[in-house]
């Protein structure tokens, strides 16, 4: 890392998270204006976007090569009151909480108190959403049966394809014009809606070009005052780049990255979409520019690395937008899940690994930043060398890159109806979610607490935490004479809650489409322009809504325990089992010991236990898969928790697998922490028993002590382990290379471990930034490897 990058990286690491009222004030101003009242909703949204980009402060940091900040300074994070309005109390919580605080200065607080809150109170999307939800939804939501993704953030969760590297925004405008001319007001009743959407897109396109020009002006101003001739020339070059892109297609490596970055800023300024946004297959997109310039002698490897590193810093400058309400209090996760994809296949099915793949991996290793996160796609066609290179980075204990099975991703996407080329151009984003990059709007709609549904089943439809009857009365389990009766009752209960969730989703998605269309994002995802329809209204080529199942390992262990202890061996009666869990195992120490140590568990390649994971998975799949969404797409499942397994565990009492009340559930499709005792080959076998190809992503977390990676042999074994899992259609695997003592020491002396990054669940986070419960969980997972 050269001194310039070292300095930029340090500035980014040291920058303090702040809430900036800039965007909220601009949005409020515009919404109050006469102009806003005169136009259609899509045009109003586009004009709002343009208003922000015309007025917001231009920030250019010293020495940087890629320019543009979402806020007025690095980590100055805007808010989105039209989506979700922060109360003064929320601001105070964000300002004061010990972990990952967002500083709120007096001026910002005053702006909220006097301008933003008075205007938006009652009007924000979030408030509208909660007004529209029925009693059953509210009760299930409050009981922790599911979460709702769109209650604080806009749908996003999409990844850019290759379009911007071929087309400038002027080209997109020409495409908009062509579609405008095709509108058929005589025969198409939607012609007016389409015209408004196309008008909105055109305004949004102009807005970004204008925004880039403002950067050009600022860069030229800085160049004028710059004493160092080298930097002066660089600033002038950067100004030229900002006049070129995004208006025109990029010609150089530097232009390509700057173009992407402007687009990125546009997307995360328009709304606060989930998982920010992401360039996706970066090695594929950049390689042609790199190759051409290297051949022409206009670029060196060192310069390319430096520009990429400067690009990396930009991601790290942008934390996820701060949350409100209970999530602001409890969640410390503020990384924004940009996941760079490396490797995989080309659209015509060839090994896509190139020189840029390795260069990007070098950058990842050297930068060691939380954002962007990174992954490698591994197809059977990709060389082991790529996997080995990735393994060597993993070995440094930084949790990146995670490893994905390209061949599975492609089959998952094709099963959902994508063309083979679109599937091959896809990858994974966020934590582990499969998507067709540049052509799909795939929304995550909420985590679903499978284990909670089983708990409610065991209490005949009542939530034991509140005593409220929120589920169906599926029968008193103490009267059941066969284990299968539990499974039948659970499936009924599951369908009941899935119906509630889907009804909610269908209302929420419609609200978003109607009230917060995203004309800017619609420019970028095919075929929104040709369909003249918004991304939030089903304009994309593919539209998918996911419900994410959580706690598979836990629920499998609970069912296994009931089958084994109550029915098959009859060691315990159902009455006694329920008494034990109701009393949180007080006075049932020996029973709990047996439940933990002498009962079969998921994750040991033992069909007796693993069959329950498979059954629950299949039930979940049957109750969700292929149901229609309001956007004209389909509901699908995936299996990932992010950190929700901690929250979901907190709303569940003690369980028949020996887990105490409130403890976290298992995460992803990993076994419950400490339950796998037969090593990684057995874990992988168990995890592969569910049909990954029926999902849009599964998450498997494995921790290893660094010793396992020692030497060539260690790396080689790891490579073969991953290859074997992928041969069984496993979707994803990630590794944390740490030992428990290190982590315990980090808990005691956080100051010594400020750079300690651990893989949490589908993403990495600073260990110090995690709550103590999550820290403890990670320590337990590690320790288990050692006992």
């Amino acid at each position: 890392m050269n001194p310039r990058i070292t300095k930029l990286r340090e500035q980014s690491l040291k920058a303090v998270n702040r809430i900036s009222a800039e965007r909220a004030l601009l949005v409020t101003e515009f919404y109050k204006s006469d102009r806003a009242q005169e136009v259609s909703i899509p045009v109003k949204r586009a004009l709002t976007f343009k208003y922000i980009l015309e007025k917001k402060k231009i920030c250019i940091n010293e020495g940087e090569l890629i320019v543009g900040e979402r806020g007025p300074a690095p980590k100055a994070t805007p808010s989105y009151p039209e989506v979700c309005l922060h109360s003064l109390q929320d601001l105070d919580i964000l300002n004061n909480r010990p972990k990952v605080s967002f500083k709120v200065d007096d001026e910002t607080r005053k702006a909220y108190e006097e301008v933003i809150i008075p205007f938006w109170k009652g009007k924000s999307y979030r408030e509208r959403l909660f007004r529209e939800m029925d009693q059953a939804w509210i009760e299930s939501y409050q009981a922790g049966v599911f979460t709702e993704f769109q209650e604080q953030r806009a749908p996003g969760h999409t990844v850019l394809g290759g379009k911007i590297y071929r087309m400038g925004f002027l080209d997109l405008k020409a495409q908009i014009r062509r579609n405008m001319e095709k509108l058929d007001f005589y025969n198409d009743p939607q012609a007016m809606d389409k015209r408004e959407e196309l008008r909105a897109m055109e305004i949004a396109a102009d807005a970004l070009i204008l925004y880039a020009e403002r950067h050009a002006l600022e860069l030229e101003k800085l160049a004028d005052g710059e004493p160092d001739p080298a930097r002066k020339a660089e600033l002038n070059d950067m100004a030229t780049i900002c006049r070129r892109v995004p208006a025109h297609a990029p010609r150089t490596f530097h232009e390509a990255l700057q173009y992407y970055w402007f687009v990125h800023l546009g997307v995360i300024t328009e709304t606060n979409p989930w998982d920010s946004f992401n360039p996706g297959r970066l090695d594929q997109h950049l390689y042609p520019f790199y190759k051409r310039e290297m051949e022409a002698g206009t670029l060196t490897k060192e310069r390319a690395t430096e520009i990429l590193q400067s690009f990396w810093v930009k991601f790290n400058n942008h934390p996820a937008p701060p949350k409100v309400g209970v999530t602001a209090l409890e969640s410390n996760t503020y990384t924004d899940f940009a996941l760079i994809n490396v490797g995989g296949l080309t659209a015509d099915g060839k090994d896509a690994v190139n020189e840029m793949s390795y260069l990007i991996l070098d950058v990842i290793e050297e930068m060691r930043l939380l954002q962007p996160s990174s992954m490698v796609q591994i197809s059977k066609q990709n060389p082991d060398n790529l996997l080995k290179r990735a393994a060597r980075i993993l070995k440094t204990g930084f949790g990146q890159p995670s490893i994905f099975n390209t061949d599975s991703i492609i089959q998952e996407l094709m099963r959902q109806g994508k063309s083979i080329e679109d599937a091959r151009n896809g990858g994974a984003s966020g934590c582990v979610e499969s998507g067709a990059f540049g052509t799909e709007a795939y929304w995550l709609t909420g985590y679903f607490n499978l284990t909670k549904v089983l708990e409610i089943t065991l209490y005949n439809g009542t939530d034991p935490r509140t005593g409220k009857q929120i589920g169906l009365q599926t029968g008193d389990v103490t009267t059941f004479t066969a284990f299968d009766q539990i499974m039948e009752a659970f499936e009924k209960q599951l369908r009941h809650f899935i119906d509630i969730k889907i009804k909610g989703n269908n209302i929420i998605e419609k609200l978003f489409g109607d009230y917060i269309p995203v004309p800017f994002l619609s420019l970028l995802v095919d075929d929104c322009i040709d369909n003249a329809r918004d991304y939030n209204q089903g304009g994309a080529r593919y539209n998918t809504s996911y419900i994410q199942g959580v706690g598979l390992g836990s629920i499998a262990d609970i069912l296994t325990s009931l089958r084994y202890n109550v029915f098959d061996t009859q060691k315990v009666t159902m009455d006694k089992m329920l008494d034990a869990v109701k009393s949180n195992f007080e006075g049932y120490d020996d029973l709990r010991y047996d439940l933990i140590y002498n009962t079969p568990k998921y994750g040991n390649d033992d069909d007796y236990a693993d069959q329950h994971a498979v059954s629950v998975f299949n039930m979940f799949y049957r109750s969700v898969n292929d149901r229609p969404t309001v956007r004209g797409g389909r509901f699908r499942i995936n299996m990932l928790p992010t950190t929700s397994h901690v929250y979901f565990g907190s709303v569940i009492g003690a369980t028949p697998d020996g887990r105490k009340a409130g403890m976290p559930l298992s995460e992803g499709i990993s076994p419950f922490q400490g339950s796998d005792r037969k090593g990684p080959t057995s874990v992988l076998k168990s995890a592969a028993k569910i049909d990954h190809l029926k999902t849009g992503g599964t998450l498997l977390n494995q921790k290893f002590t660094p010793q396992l990676f020692e030497g060539e042999r260690g790396i080689e074994s790891l490579v073969q382990l991953i290859r074997s899992y992928f041969r069984m259609d496993g979707h994803h695997i990630q590794f944390n290379v740490v030992n428990a003592d290190t982590l315990r020491d980090a808990q005691k002396f956080p100051e010594k471990y400020q750079d300690l990054i651990v893989r949490v669940a589908g993403y990495s986070d600073y260990f110090n930034d995690l709550g103590k419960d999550l820290q403890d969980e990670i320590i337990r997972r590690t320790e288990h490897k050692e006992f």
Binding site: T681, S682, R713, E716, L721
Partner: protein
């Protein structure tokens, strides 16, 4: 009558006992009594009680476990078959270790036969102190011998392992003459096997063997101490320290000097 064997463990994802990813089964019963043995539960040819402690919520549970169970070869191969995809992918297979597998020749043969039926690569970890006739019965079914060699001086061998080493050396020569694939595994026990005298003698012997390519140095570690306590056995190396890295590197160089591939650990 189906022959049964006494085993004490099956370990999955074994990556230091032959090529690739392997599954290792440990036979119980050994003719040697090496002072440093880190699997003391492998020695006796009968089931025995092991005391283990497990804690839960601050309470400690003392558990009596039986080490060793009599199983049919079919049962072992069924457990190993679960990992077939890993063998196939990694060029791995199964490893039979112990204890001394050749002390249960009928059971061993049956297991090797079942493994070969499935096309698995087989590795046999042996101390070599077995009748030549027994060894000869299995050689056709074994792809790789992991041959444990400790001390060249027979008196020393007797002192530290309980037996003289004539059979060990003779069987090694036999395998070498048969052209079998052999990896020799030398435990590095400070002051006992790593002496100048023993290392030189080992090196000279290796030079005589045909086709020997690899030496595994297995450094002594103290992890076994608690196992002896659990088995209520006497541990003779109470105060011995683990060999320092420099020493291991020095030994590694000696054997690399005669053209061997040398690994450390296992």
């Amino acid at each position: 009558m189906v022959v049964k064997g006494l085993i004490f463990d099956i370990k999955h994802f074994s990556i230091n006992d032959g090529p690739g990813i392997r599954t290792t089964v440990f036979f119980k019963g050994c003719p040697l009594r090496c002072w440093w043995c880190h699997n003391p539960e492998s020695q006796a040819r009968h089931e025995e009680v092991v005391i283990k402690e497990r804690s839960l919520d601050g309470r400690t549970y003392r558990i009596e476990e039986i080490s060793g169970r009599w199983v049919e070869a079919q049962e072992v191969i069924s457990e190993m078959e679960k990992d077939g995809i890993y063998y196939d992918q990694s060029g791995g297979g199964i490893t039979i270790s112990g204890g001394e597998p050749l002390m249960q020749p009928e059971f061993l043969l049956e297991l090797l036969r079942l493994a070969k039926e499935r096309g698995y690569h087989t590795a046999l970890d042996t101390c070599g102190h077995v009748p030549e006739t027994v060894l000869k019965r299995v050689t056709d079914h074994v792809d790789l011998f992991l041959y444990d060699l400790k001390l060249i001086d027979s008196e020393d061998h007797l002192k530290y392992t309980g037996v003289m080493n004539e059979k060990v050396l003779k069987n090694l020569m036999l395998l070498s003459e048969m052209g079998k694939n052999i990896v020799i595994r030398v435990p590095v026990i400070p002051g006992i096997t790593d002496t100048q005298k023993n290392i030189t003698a080992l090196r000279d012997l290796f030079l005589e063997l045909n086709g020997l390519e690899q030496i595994d140095l297995l450094p002594y570690h103290r992890i076994a101490k608690s196992k002896y306590q659990r088995l209520k056995m006497n541990y003779k190396l109470e105060d011995l320290q683990e060999p320092p890295l420099e020493k291991l590197n020095e030994l590694k160089k000696v054997f690399e000097g005669i053209g061997m591939k040398v690994t450390v650990g296992g």
